[in-house]
Amino acid sequence: MATKTAAKRKSERDAVTLGKIQKLAKGVLTEATKGHNPAVEIRTRALSNVSFNERKKIIELGDKTQSREFFNTSMVRKFMQTMLVASKCKTLIDEGKTVSIRQMYYMSKHTLPHSSDNTFEDQTESDPIIEDLEVGIDALREELHLFATRRGSCVGKLVIEDAGDRIDLSRMGRGGWSIPSICEPDVIKFTECKAEFILFVEKDAVFTRLNEDGFWKKHNCILMTTGGQSTRGARRLLQRMSQELKLQSYVLVDNDPWGLYIYSVLKQGSINLAYESMRMAVPNVRFLGMSSYDYAKFKLGPAVQIKLKKEDVARAEQMKAYPWFKDKKWQQEIQELLRNGFKMELDGFLTKSISFITDEYIPKKLRDRDWLT
């Protein structure tokens, strides 16, 4: 239980979130008291319930909901877990602390009395429950005082303030600034920006390559990576930088279906987190590479070819059907990948020379305005 002094310190935002959690609990209790089946309505997070908003150019979550009932044998466990996570989030808010979703897993895990079952058996059980709670009570993850594992680095001509500390992103050495999982305006503020654009690269190794080559200094930009699929924090940061600093962002990923999907998530959001698209999507982000046509354009040799696997082909076909890839240019791009029959990695440019990507590839692509949107 929160002490009165702790309650006073709660920010207005915390008060709103607490209200939502309490409303959830009261509703459940009221229904049970009336002899009804207590239920939580959760919007379905699946392809069947997302749509592509042509005007806003983002993926949006539909209105289809799933009722999570207590008196239902297939739902009762998840119902209990949802309530448990809600109560633990309430504790976090009361105590003004933030934990990772893994720590939340441990916070809410205990063995049920007279049984060998646990409230949660592993983190794969608790992660979706947290997302359910987010959509169920319409609260953001950070509002629930939770964060995901941090991943991603950033360097460039930008000065920020993170929880009161001034950080010059042009003085971050080789590793770059580690992007926190929560990048909301109340903790991260942009102080001074000399950058002209943002370059987001998929791979950490490419980031290091570009950083070592001083790419961002030469081209006056901000360089970001998340090492694979982008994290919430990095996506939020990218959106805020592109909106608040009015910077154009470019994405550099491997030439394969997964790379394309990383771009797609940055641009219009993901299916699983469709309810967050508004806060994360960057619809004007440009796909700089690596394009299937680059093989010919940059006279790359067979050494860079990696044969497409069956699942690559399947994934590419699947993506061709997504409404947000319906544009002719994209259809051609995916078709070309399939026709090539091989995929390529950004690291493949090292067949040319160590800094080919820094000195030749990116400058030429930018110069030629050779990108897709």
């Binding site: 089946n37 239920a39 309505e41």
Partner: protein, 599 residues
């Protein structure tokens, strides 16, 4: 053979005997002599079976006598090993003692009943009884005499204060005549009246399906009114106190029915009625034959109804027999057959399987085959301590007598095989017995039970019988299926309930933490709402269902009985919440009201 076939050189065979010399060797074969050579026909094929048959014949006679006299039977069966077997697996010498509290037998009759084959009261009449031919007990005595040389010892007393006679009997096998070896008056103060039979024989004592103990245990099932004490050769004393103080209704003796009469029998009946007309014999000696029917039969047979009965022969006789079989006539009176009854069948079954979970029984309405009225009954015990993964046990009864041999040849077994038990929620391999914790009883009560042989081991396959047996079994099966389904439902509900109960404290604690209310206060409404979504069951797991009117899933024919182990009438039980709403509404109820959190 003609002369042509013979080669001219072949020697003419020499005559070996003349008709006269052959005639000197031709003589009557006594029944006893016939038996001596054909003992297997009467159930004395091997030492183990001989022991069973001996006990069986004596017990059957005792029960028939008690019932006919209107006495609740109280029997003692004792098997004593007189001399041990010379080596294991070899037969040894036993004394079988069967003692009853029946009416006793008047002294002059004792020798004939026990030491003359084919002498009895049951052969000449059509009446439902255990024994039929009057051959059994004297055959047992003869077998004993043949194997041990010892006489049969009979003790009998006909009333309080009267003397008891103890008579040692032998059978003169050549003349089929009793031979009284010893005759004395004894003091038998244990009983006011009754008969005690002692037979010493070479036999083998076996357990299992064909054993004596199995026979007695099954007899006890089919005869709830029987009180039995059994002392085994090992000296174990088993007591089966009676569970019903009600004697079976006395079966009425009936005259032959026109549809079942055989030609030879008809001939005898007519020949035995000098001075009567054909029509008179038909009216007097057949059941359900009125003068009008008799007239009709004679017309159909083109026989003069006023012709003297004992003069009818040849084609006339055959035409009359045919007409009797074809004439439309009422079924024989059902009062001639006495079923055990549904309630008593269950009581009987409980004597053997007291811990089953479910019992059901069916007594069909009387039916007729070949002019013989019969009633089929079936009962089953299910669950409890019966073996789970074994084929169901079948107990076959004909006029309350257990049938232990030749199950494969018996119509009763076939009826159990032919019923599709899978339709009643049981497992059943193709063409096999249902595999379930179940014991099945089928009882055929009839004036004349059609056995496949004189050993009375298996019921012959008459379609009418088989159909009735299957109907009876199906009725029991339907009741069982209803039970199994409701049991499965109750199990599911119990599982659901415990699942919800497992999570209620967790949810209550979470909500309590959020709202700052004690966990107990939140648990309460959840526990109170639980019965709305879970059908509560009592401790034994039986679903407490809304009351159902009358018998359920009950097919035609006969009343039905169904008893659950706890004897509790299905219905709402005080203390539980209002019975759940009708099934059709279940879906809505389950869904409940949904709480939107996204207003």
């Amino acid at each position: 053979m003609t002369k042509k076939d013979q080669s001219p050189d072949a020697p003419v065979p020499k005559r070996r005997a003349t008709a006269e010399s052959m005639a000197s060797r031709q003589r009557e074969i006594s029944v006893s002599e016939f038996f001596t050579k054909n003992r297997h026909l009467l159930g004395f094929d091997n030492p183990a079976k001989a022991l069973l048959t001996t006990v069986k014949e004596a017990v059957d006679n005792s029960l028939d006598a008690c019932e006919e006299a209107g006495i609740l039977p109280e029997l003692l069966v004792e098997i004593v090993e007189v001399a041990p077997a010379p080596s294991p697996n070899q037969p040894s010498r036993f004394r079988v003692v069967v003692e009853d509290n029946g009416p006793g037998i008047v002294k002059p009759q004792i020798p004939k009943i026990f030491a003359k084959l084919l002498y009895g009261s049951k052969f000449h009449r059509l009446k439902q009884s255990r024994g039929q031919q009057g051959i059994g007990i004297s055959a047992a005595g003869l077998y004993g005499q043949l194997t041990t040389g010892k006489p049969v010892v009979i003790t009998s007393k006909t009333g309080k204060g009267r003397p008891a006679f103890r008579i040692d009997l032998r059978i003169d096998t050549k003349r089929n005549q009793p031979d009284v070896v010893k005759d004395e008056t004894t003091d038998w103060s244990d009983r006011d009246h009754g008969t005690r039979v002692e037979i010493e024989l070479v036999a083998a004592y076996r357990g299992g399906r064909t054993g004596v103990q199995e026979y007695l245990e099954q007899t006890v099932v089919a005869n709830p009114h029987l009180g039995l004490t059994y002392v085994s050769p090992k000296g174990e004393r088993l007591e089966f106190p009676r569970v019903s103080g009600e004697l079976p209704r006395e079966a009425q003796e009936i005259k032959p029915h026109p549809h079942g009469i055989e030609l030879g029998m008809l001939q005898t009946m007519l020949a035995d009625s000098p001075g009567k007309t054909v029509k008179q014999v038909l009216c007097d000696d057949f059941s359900r034959v009125s003068p009008a029917i008799a007239q009709q039969v004679c017309q159909m047979a083109k026989v003069n109804p006023r012709a003297p009965a004992d003069r009818l022969h040849g084609e006339e006789l055959e035409r009359l027999h045919k007409a009797l079989g074809e004439v439309r006539v009422m079924a024989p009176p059902a009062t001639a057959v006495v079923p055990i009854g549904e309630a008593l069948l269950i009581e009987g079954l409980k004597r053997r399987f007291p811990k089953a979970e479910f019992y059901s029984s069916t007594t069909r309405a009387p039916k007729v085959y070949r002019g013989n009225p019969f009633v089929v009954e079936a009962a089953l015990a299910y669950g409890g301590d019966l073996p789970l993964e074994e084929p169901a046990e079948i107990m076959r009864f004909a006029n309350r007598v257990p049938l232990q041999y030749q199950p494969k040849a018996c119509a009763i077994s076939e009826s159990v095989y032919e019923v599709n038990w899978r339709g009643y929620e049981l497992q059943q391999p193709k063409g096999g017995l249902p595999v379930a914790p179940m014991a099945v009883v089928v009882h055929l009560a009839s004036v004349w039970v059609p056995f496949t042989s004189e050993a009375k081991e298996a019921v012959a396959h008459y379609d009418e019988l088989l159909e009735e047996m299957k109907h009876a079994l199906r009725e029991c099966g339907r009741k069982l299926a209803a039970h199994v389904r409701s049991r499965a439902h109750a199990d599911r509900e119990l599982k659901r309930r415990s699942l919800f109960e497992k999570y209620i404290p967790e949810v209550a604690a979470a909500i309590g933490d959020i709202l700052g209310i004690s966990k107990e206060k939140i648990e309460k409404p959840f526990y109170e709402t639980l019965p709305v979504f879970v059908k509560f069951a009592d401790e034994e797991g039986h679903a407490k269902e809304a009351p159902k009117e009358g018998t359920r899933a009950n097919g035609g024919g006969g009343e039905s009985a169904e008893i659950k182990e706890d004897g509790e009438a299905p219905g709402p039980v005080p203390g539980t919440p209002a019975p759940p709403v009708a099934k059709g509404k279940r879906k809505d109820r389950n869904k409940g009201k949904q709480l939107s959190l996204l207003e």
